[in-house]
């Protein structure tokens, strides 16, 4: 089963107007329950209804690079592991946002495909594509 990255509409405008520097911005994950699905018109973190993050490890993402090659810019991210130290509230949507600019603008999100509750000791690894990138623009 494939999981596609769905960008938010506002992201493309933000990218062209200098809101984002994805090479230096502090990217983070936000998690939303099945009943609170993100929509294309969301633009900032405050537009989302997030889960309670008790018992969940850090959601901060490490950027490897954001560089162009032959006219295509790729956002390469370090693989990230979400670890549960107890039961974590159920979520389905995993949102990527930029924690650096004011308002925490959104980039896009992934749909896990179903509601997931992490139990103590369970890990959810996000293996980002190290070649194609988590997202790209050409």
């Amino acid at each position: 089963m494939t999981i596609a990255f769905q960008k938010f509409d506002q992201f493309v405008e933000d990218a062209w107007k200098g809101v984002h520097n994805l090479s230096t911005g502090a990217l983070k994950l936000a998690l939303c329950a099945a009943a609170n699905a993100p929509v294309a018109g969301n633009s900032q973190l405050g537009d989302l209804t997030q889960i309670n993050y008790a018992n969940l490890s850090t959601r901060a993402i490490t950027t490897v690079s954001c560089e162009q090659l032959s006219g295509t810019v790729r956002l390469l991210l370090t693989d990230h592991v979400l670890t549960a130290s107890g039961t974590v509230a159920a979520f389905r949507y995993i949102v990527l946002y930029n924690d650096t600019p004011s308002g925490d603008p959104l980039l896009g999100f992934w749909d896990y495909g179903g509601s997931l509750t992490l139990l103590n000791g369970e890990t959810l690894s996000l293996d980002f594509d190290g070649s194609a990138g988590a997202m790209y623009c050409s």
């Binding site: 089963m1 494939t2 999981i3 596609a4 990255f5 592991v81 670890t83 549960a84 992934w110 896990y112 495909g113 179903g114 509601s115 997931l116 139990l119 103590n120 000791g121 369970e122 890990t123 959810l124 690894s125 996000l126 293996d127 980002f128 594509d129 070649s131 194609a132 990138g133 988590a134 997202m135 790209y136």
Partner: protein, 67 residues
């Protein structure tokens, strides 16, 4: 003493973008529960020694075993 972990994985989209989600759980019943709740998702058993360090360490911690 646990000897295996269980993985439920997904794949990137057709263009290779996106992310592979890799969930590691401790029991077959749990793996089936998660896989059954998400269309198209399957699970597999993996010897504890073949899991990633972080996966193994957390499973062992959760069951009270030393890594």
């Amino acid at each position: 003493m646990i000897t295996h972990g269980y993985l439920i994985e997904s794949r990137t989209d057709a263009n290779g973008r996106g992310v592979n989600f890799r969930l590691c759980v401790a029991t077959e019943a749990r793996a089936k529960e998660v896989a059954d709740s998400v269309p198209g998702r399957t699970w597999r058993q993996v010897p504890i020694g073949e899991l990633r360090d972080v996966e193994r360490a957390n499973l062992l911690r959760a069951v009270g075993e030393a890594p």
